[in-house]
């Protein structure tokens, strides 16, 4: 009987390098309050956000991705030609096809790397880390570039009070490769499509085609319901990720949740029962909610500010439209 060869990869993986690109414009709350009949005070109270980063009209989600990716590859001490797979997590690449990942791979000089997009919204970065970890350990790739990138400002409605004012534009990238010790714990992930209506676009592309006058689709959410789900249902997922990694909450040095809302982050910390010594990333205050980019952005921030160091153990969890979620414990690059 014919037998097929199978590949075997590295036993362990880690994050080899990190890069980020924030939208070039820092947009304060005061610039957004008029169409939503609100105030700087209300936005800060409900979300913790003071400013969000947004990109100019001529900056694309691929432009942001390229900047982040180049820095991540350089920090990993690699060349673009060393990348065998590119995973781009985005919900704002404005084409149904082709995907953004092949375009990005070509832009940075990683062709013919395998390249594909994943649509897992604010959980997309952690989904990508889980896949990259598995690809390297299986031998399907040696170095995987994972990019979470969004230009959310292309899909906001200035008059929307549910989500638009939270959103920012950015990209965060990491390179995953082999390691002598375990640098990425098991990914705990899942979905609940029963909540698909809680976050999404106002109408489908077919509605736009078939119903004249349908406005260009923008994002909406059922804020209080999403708050409840994220604040209370994600804590058990985070605890499972800690347990799966074989560590205890006391061992965690940094908590880097998706930067959805400071109120969600604070409630999650309480529900998980994280010890007081754990540094809690809150880049959202300055960068806003950048969906798939928010976790790598917040990672870069805690490292840059000196609140965390390379080698620290971080719990990261992404959650969002789908509903989808993923969490893992990682060693910071």
């Amino acid at each position: 009987m014919t037998t097929l060869n199978v590949r075997r990869g590295a036993e362990f993986t880690r994050i080899l390098g990190l890069g980020v690109a924030r939208g070039e414009n820092l947009v304060p709350n005061d610039d957004l309050i008029e169409p939503i009949n609100s105030s700087d005070e209300w936005i800060r109270k409900m979300t913790g956000i003071a400013t969000r980063v947004r990109a100019g009209k001529d900056t694309s989600v691929i432009d942001l991705s390229e900047r982040a990716a180049r820095d991540a590859i350089a920090q990993a001490g690699l060349e673009p030609s060393d990348i065998d797979a590119v995973i781009l997590s985005t919900i704002t690449f404005p084409h149904i096809t082709p995907g953004g990942a092949p375009v990005l791979a070509d832009r940075i000089g990683a062709t013919p790397a395998a390249a594909f997009d994943i649509s897992a919204a604010c959980a997309g970065y952690c989904y990508g880390i889980g896949q990259a970890d598995a690809l390297v350990r299986s031998g399907a790739a040696r170095h995987v570039l994972v990019v979470g990138a969004e230009k959310m400002s292309d899909f906001v409605d200035p008059a929307d009070r549910s989500i638009s004012y939270l959103l920012g534009d950015a990209a965060g990238a990491v390179v995953i490769g082999a390691s002598e010790t375990a640098g990425i714990g098991p990914t705990v992930w899942g979905s609940d499509g029963g909540g698909a209506e809680l976050i999404g676009q106002t109408s489908s592309w077919l509605d736009v085609r078939d119903n004249p006058g349908t406005p260009f689709p923008t994002l909406r959410q059922e804020g209080p319901s999403v708050f409840k789900w994220a604040s209370f249902k994600m804590a058990p997922v985070a605890l499972q990720a800690i347990e799966a990694a074989g560590v205890a909450p006391d061992d965690i040095q940094v908590f880097i949740p998706h930067q959805a809302n400071v109120r969600i982050i604070d409630q999650m910390v309480k529900q998980i029962g994280l010890p007081e010594h754990v540094v809690v990333a809150k880049d959202i205050v300055d960068s806003g909610n950048t969906s798939a980019a928010s976790i790598p952005l917040a990672t870069e921030r805690v490292l840059r500010d000196g609140d965390a160091r390379s080698g620290d153990l971080a719990l990261q969890i992404g959650f969002g439209a789908g509903l989808v979620y993923a969490a893992q414990v990682v060693v910071l690059p």
Binding site: K45, M46, E222, G223, P224, S225, F227, K228, S231, F232, R263, Q267
Partner: protein
């Protein structure tokens, strides 16, 4: 055994106090969560979730908007 409305009110007042620091004595049946107690939509969701856990009831998200006063919430929980 089902809890009396007084017992539910006392338990709910504790939850409101925990979430907002409002004195338990201020949490009375006729008070509006929004207008009198100044509880915003996210704190309301936290209170609802903690009440679900404490009283072992389910309060659907779409029902929360109908719980205008503390008394509305007490009635809903006591009759659940």
């Amino acid at each position: 055994m089902a809890l009396s409305k007084d017992e539910v009110l006392a338990g709910l007042a504790e939850i409101v106090n925990e979430e907002t620091d409002i004195d338990v004595a201020e949490v009375t049946a006729e008070k509006s969560f929004t207008d009198d107690l100044d509880i915003d939509s996210l704190s309301m969701m936290t209170i609802v979730t903690l009440a679900e856990e404490k009283f072992d009831v389910r309060i659907p998200d779409e029902k929360v908007k109908d719980l205008v006063t503390v008394g509305d919430a007490v009635d809903y929980i006591a009759n659940a």
